[in-house]
Amino acid sequence: MSDGFKDLAANEIATAVNGGVRSARSIVEASLAEIESQNPALNAFTTVLAERALARADSIDSRKAKGASLGPLAGVPFSVKNLYDVEGVTTLAGAKINADNAAAGADCTLVKKLEAADAVLVGCLNMGEYAYDFTGENAHFGPSRNPHDPNHMAGGSSGGSGTAVASGMTPLSLGSDTNGSIRVPSSFCGLFGLKPTYGRLSRSGTFPFVASFDHLGPFARSAKDLALAYDAMQGKDNGDHAQQNRPPELVAQTLDHGLAGLRIARATGYFAKGAEPVAFAAAETIMRALGSKQTIEIPEAERARAAGFLITMAEGGSLHLERLRTRLADFDPDVRERLIAGAILPASWIVQAQKFRRWYQAQVLKLFQHVDVIVAPATPCTAPMIGQKNMVLDGVEMAVRANIGLFTQPISFIGLPVAAVPVWLQQESLPIGVQIIAAPWREDIALRVAYALERSGAARAPVAKSAS
């Protein structure tokens, strides 16, 4: 029924639709068929927009028939985390409480930009409540399941974004990343994911979590697809106060520039302890593929994580204060008390954390005088079982939900761009991700490295076999 669709990368679809080999309608129909077939078991989608998507596909085909040139994502089905505003759909942000809100009156900026490049939105995706989550679980809507083994977590909070792409339901999805919510599902679901520099892409028209750290970005099964989507989403729109006024710096054309001249080092210290061996083995595999043995220490990373943890609690608690007063019983129990605690933290703790953030940013930026790329594990383990509450890392038992992001938090804390790349180690039944970290505004370097790793076979993102 899906006519080979499931294994097609976004760039292959765009080439086929632009070349008249496939119609946008046939592609979108195949995507909708995959959603109908797989979603009941995997629980990625909360809304499917079949009518809108088919109308959009027909419009693209009609323009093609009239001889118009199509955009770089022609006919590519994509899906978005349900904190993105989509016209006519209530923006859930994973919350039962938000289901009472009116439907969004317009699409958010990034949906508009992808559709301006002729991609086709097919639906909205499950997520952890209010994005305060690394698991992909949700008490109201059920967990997003890992397509490589549905008994395992997809990762969060952009769980549905990982599930949709790893299963082949859509070749491209969008998520958000405050402390790791793109990089964690990318790691658990075996995908390429991009968290751009803080302030690069507009967040206008999306439901916030922690304004200091919120980022948006894409998931895909190839670095080239990430680049195409990222390029289409760049540009200022004045709707996001934190977005920097930078002209688009397109990366798709520089992907194949290779590794020559890049100084690459693996993060040591904090990033080389407190995890399962598989996390370090994956990082080492990537370093071998990149031909580097250099290491570098990111100073005070553990303290950075602590500061980020506090700011997250406080900004999250403040954002939801009125709902905590009036709708307490309607929160996901795994989120509620974290927000209450965040709402009552002393202000001086938070200001001190923000001061430390400034110091830390200055120190880390100095490192980029000596290296272009820092390699670090994305998660301390492969995907835990759904429902698993605790895990043991380095002999220490800790809560899963709060600690899956211990390697991602010190990086997004200062907004560095990161490409997550998926690694499949021998004898492992689940993938695990590695962070390719670059200096601010150097997404081009992170994606160049991701592309080189994909070409070498060191990183790969196959559609899940269980979904075949």
């Binding site: 200091s212 204060l321 954390a353 907004g415």
Partner: protein
């Protein structure tokens, strides 16, 4: 936070100040989270910063 600090009283009075009506079920879990935050805060506060260091929220007019 010294050993004599009454964290339950802090939670109760802070929630009363903010008009959050805590349930008994929530109270112990809020305590767990405040204790985690306190450990994080002690780590941050233990680091000596120049008093002229400015906070880092990104805002440019």
């Amino acid at each position: 936070m010294d050993d004599t600090f009454d964290i339950d009283a802090f939670i109760a009075s802070s929630c009363a100040l903010l008009d959050i009506k805590l349930t008994d079920e929530s109270r112990s879990l809020v305590r767990v989270n405040v204790e985690i935050a306190a450990r994080m805060a002690s780590m941050v506060e233990a680091f000596s910063l120049d008093e002229r260091e400015e906070p880092a929220p990104v805002f440019k007019s």
